[in-house]
Amino acid sequence: MTEIKIVYFAWVRERVGVAEEIIDVPQNDLTVEALAELLSQRDEGYALAFENPKLVRAAIDRVHAKPSDMIAGAREIAFFPPMTGG
């Protein structure tokens, strides 16, 4: 197991209930998609946050990531809704 920092933004943060946390993950063979699935099983808030995977984007070490990207070696994973800046 490896410790990894997870950060959340906007309604993903509100549904999960925390802005950031450190969790233990079986890091080496986990994709972003698999991590989201793992998180969604934690409680109702997480389940709600990840209920529609298409609406949750991710970043690995502050770079946009695809669902199939591996999180191996990452220090910080972020989950957030599609962006609405500008």
Binding site: A10, A59, R62, V63, F80, P82, M83, T84, G85, G86
Partner: protein, 156 residues
């Protein structure tokens, strides 16, 4: 061409005149400056404010990556992106994008490209504060914005 790049993420308001002047300095070879300013709207009186949340660190990095991409496509002497976070009132400027080049075509195109890419790539999210006093919803991303960004991928 070496492009002078300015990327700032800030809570404070920006001064459009100052930022525009900065794009044109030194100005020996600048023939064109194009700017875009995005403002907070009231949506016909429905909203009191918007709150912009951002991902500190990534917001600046990602905007720099978008500006670098613009620099590979057009010869720009300067490019600036200033994006604010926090609570905005209707009429407040949220984002300033400016480009400077020798001729107008490059400045116009790069400015539009930067804005289209920022919309879909910069990690910012808007929350509505309604005029009736309630906190409203998070603004949903528009498919139009994805389409606007995607049209640049079919061009060279």
């Amino acid at each position: 061409m070496t492009t002078r790049i300015t990327v700032r993420i800030q809570a404070d308001a920006f001064d459009v005149a100052d930022e525009t002047d900065a794009l044109n300095s030194p100005n020996e070879d600048v023939g064109a400056v194009s700017t875009f300013i995005g403002y907070c709207r009231s949506e016909g009186g429905r909203l009191n404010a918007l709150e912009l949340e951002h991902y500190p660190g990534m917001a600046e990095d990602e905007i720099k990556r978008v500006v670098d991409e613009a620099c590979t496509r057009w010869p720009l002497s300067s490019a600036s992106v200033i994006h604010r976070y926090g609570v905005m009132k209707p009429g407040d400027g949220i984002v300033f994008v400016g480009t400077a080049s020798t001729h107008r075509a490059e400045a116009f195109a790069a400015c539009e490209f930067l804005m289209d890419y920022l919309k879909t790539r910069a990690p910012f999210w808007k929350k509505e504060y309604r005029a009736d006093g309630n906190i409203g919803d998070w603004v949903e991303a528009k498919s139009d914005d994805d389409a606007a960004a995607a049209r640049w991928t079919s061009k060279t």
